[in-house]
Amino acid sequence: MDINPEDEISYTTQYQETFLKYVENEYYANDRRVLINELETVLSSNLVFCATASGSYQSSFDPYDLSSNDNEYLTPNNVAETTPGRRDRAAGVMTATRLNLNSPTEATKNWGHIDPNLNDYHSDPMEISSTFWILDISDSWRQQEEMQSKYADLSNVARNIFSIIPHGVGVEASFSFGRDVIGWRQSKTTGETLREKVVVRQFARANNLILAGTDPELDATNTENDSEMKKETEERK
């Protein structure tokens, strides 16, 4: 993505143009080929061409390094793949994208609001956090689609992008592993000790717990945090 951080004035514009390029390249590349093919046809017929000014394929801006495949885009071999209806839809999406980006953001009235003057520490934290996540953008885009609004075509792009799941079990397990290494009652453990503990435990996990024998200290499944919890439970009894 070719965003120039020194150009602060048109920073938003750069992101907007890059996003438009992305939508066009990623979702309507075939339509672009046809447009170029038509352009070549028109030029070869020695006719005056006046409708390519808005064609972004003429720009030197190339965020995806597609210049190496220019021959593919300029060869008239994909004409049959695209129908006029699809071409219209591509143009509609580009228009909808521009309109959407230039329109103001939706009102955030549904955002979870916590009154700072209200020291309600006894309220359910899950309830508070649930209001934060109430901004379900999938619903927002689904409504656009169902209402057949002017952004309905853009909802397909949104659905494709938001279907990507960015998190996984491995990352979340790594965060849990951190609490296992540093228990609630450890405040004087040095960094070097922590480093050694992490290395030993990771090695044990990677080698199917070969270090876990009769010594509970080396058993990665029996963490210190678990031991502390057990001790606390016994003390309460």
């Binding site: 938003t12 965020p63 939706e106 953008i137 938001f162």
Partner: protein
Amino acid sequence: MTLHHIITVYNDMFNHMDGVMQALAKKKTQSKEDLFFAVKLAQQKISKYYAEVTPTMGMRLFSAHILDPFQKLRSFR
């Protein structure tokens, strides 16, 4: 769906770390110097992750962020 939160979370973390480092920059207490050093390392680590994430799937991240109807291009202003 959490893809559109990634840029926001990174921004918040960088801002928070900048604030903490700014507050601790002139402190001479050993514990606060240690904390400053730890935050500095954390910032370097996150910067490294951010630099690795953005070239591979950066456009999808930014697209998701821009397609968030409550954010759009506001974060890039």
